[in-house]
Amino acid sequence: FMMAADPARAWSDEQLKGEEIPKRELITFIQENAAHSFLSEHKLLGNIKNVAKTAKKEQLIEAYNQLFESKRFKGTEVDAVTEQVQAAKISDAPKEIKTEPVDEGPPKFTKTILKKGDKTNFPKKGDTVSCWYTGTLEDGTVFDSNIPATAKKKKQTKPLSFKVGLGRVIRGWDEGLLVMSKGETARLEIEAEWAYGRKGVPDSKIPPNAKLIFEVELVSID
């Protein structure tokens, strides 16, 4: 009794093939008991309604039987995480890890347009955007900027480029840039929660609970 006891078969083959067990019940059972990767492979992840629409009864019965044969129940998958195979599979695609969207409420930033953009080209999630920006604290302290002092130097430096909407920058930027159009210069006032929160950035000019103000020029979208 060292490991979690495996779930027991709830239904016999006859019961499964017959009419008495609705697809949804079968899906619920499998979702509750199978390991994440098993569900993923059998395309059984997600909202039960949607799965029921796409999966045929035969497929579900197959999966159900497969589950008990392979014993790939929940809780057996953790060891696989540390294996190279899993790691190789995971690192194929760039991983977008998003922080949990907490129950929302109003957006934690405001945008004021300083110079209008073309009002037609807006970045989508995953697009690469390039911008010039200056960041200040509420008291006016400049904590970051990529705009060089002289116009001549501006030719030598490049604007900051990154893929927007993927959680690689603070949330205020991810959300703010998605509503800017190409060529626009805007003032983004971002509350601490969508910036660096209660921690601030230790060893830097950004204190805890700091509201950040950015002047951003969206130069290009790719």
Binding site: A4, T82, Q84, I90, P94, K95, Y133, D144, G167
Partner: protein, 623 residues
Amino acid sequence: MALEQLCDVVQRCQAIKDEGFSPEDYDLFFTAGRTCLEQGNSAQVLSILVDEKNKNIVRCMGWNLLGPLVQILLKKEDKNLPHCHAILSHLLEICSPKELLVGLLEQVEEADTGSIAETVTLLLKPLQTVLLRLGMKKASSVGMALSTLLSQVARLPVPVTKEQEEDDVFGLCHCCTALLQFVKPFVEEVKEGVKDNNRISKDNELRVELLKFCMKSLSKPLLEVQLKDPDTLLKSPLRDFATEILIILSSIGESLPDLLSRNVLKRREVPGFLEEEVRYPKESLACLSHLLFVDHIAVDIFPAVLSPIFVLQCNMEYIELLLSRTEESHLLKGLVLYEKSLIRVEDNSLPVDLLELKTFFSVPQNLVKVMTLCPDQTLVSETFCVEVTCNLMWFISIVDFDLSLLTSPQRTKGLKVFQLSIDKFNTEAKYKFFKGMLKTSHHAGVEGYIIKNIKNQIDFSLKPCNGNDWFLGKHLLPLLRLVLCLPHGPETDLLQNLDRIMESLNLLRYMLIRDKEWENETGIWTELYKIEDNYLKPLRTGLNMSKAHYEAELKSAKENKKISSKDSKASVCTVTVDNEKLPNMTPEMQIQVLQSAVFTFDLIESVLTRIEEIIETKERPLS
């Protein structure tokens, strides 16, 4: 005389057309020239070399004199210096740049450890002059020069204290500063190409050589250096070197954020992928990360808008690399980088999908390895094998590894960071992490620590408004089954598993007291009969057996001692640890060891009894 010989060969060669000099001519010129220089006749040699009539001869043969010339210059005898410098300048102007390069680099390569710094300092300007003469074709030569120079400089001892850095006895700081001057014109050339819309190709040779140089510097010497902050050391050549390297990277078109996130975002389908790997060695990037986030180097050219979780994700790759090293300095760097990356993140914020990334599991496992190995790695013992003279082998396991009693500062810090990493996970991630660690760590101390964390999570979850599916409700029980078990049933070595057993008993006792039977929020009460059968009863059995065993041994050891008290210094038994014999254990020591084992069992028993009492009270029908 050498001078005459030199004049002779030169005169003879003046007559030879089209530079058709023979090997003998070369030899004679070289030997005579060298001797002249060594004998102090540098002025005469100079006048021969600058003579217009000898231009072709000098162009072909002159560079061979570099060797002896450099040796003399290094000796720094005032008398000859001005002339020798003049000779050098002349050769640099006249001879073929490629040949000069070979000659100069040879001198650098052959410098012995004691003269590396001086040689490098002497030859950097000449090398630069020669390389600039190569014009458009300089890239591969620049690369060769930088590689040779760095290899030598990397051999210099790295200053550890601030005084050592100030004194710079071995010249590392001086060389680093000089190297920056050396690369300046090449960096400018690439920068020119990068500016405007005249995008320089990523594969531009000179750019690639500079990139290689920066990457190599990051590895050696920068990874070995412990930089001092401005408060400790105001003017630090090494800090300046590090800063400049990062600025150079940025100037030649390598975005620092992109460098940082390479390992996280790379795609395997990119053609020439392997070459990319070689161009951006992970170790160098690890150093880069440490410079940015621990030493705060070049912060003003690094954007402040990156999401802390993304930064952590990027850094995990480098932390993993550093924590897998054996050199203590690298381990420490990994540890501090981990800490600095974690503190930027809010508690309870890391989502569970992060655990699908290999590094989020492997790093804590590496950390545990760091904590459980002694710093000098000579003894990893947790068991003493005591051979008693009467041919019976008793294995006494004494767990000297108690996580709360770590003495090495590194291990203490390691533990702190380990706990920090746990605190940053959100609830579901904590659950998954604990489960994973319990299944894979196979170390009683670590398991005990995890179990204590589980207890804290349960406690937290039981508080109003903190309820969750993971440490209460249906997921808790599978986790508890991993906690409340004996790995080998009643035969489990209780001493070796002490930490784990104590923590799991504490957990159980806590739950039985805190979670009222009629509420049963954790489900423990419905599970209890299973726990009794599968854990408590076998534990009780094992405990009783072990106690009886050791008490008997203790008794006989005490008797033995009485008998041989006259020879109390004679050892009763030999002790081997990891197949190495320690100085023999005396009877007193043996008794101490056995006694402490018995005390340990008492300890376990006290908690076990308490639990049995609680259960009995609840099960007794109320009158």
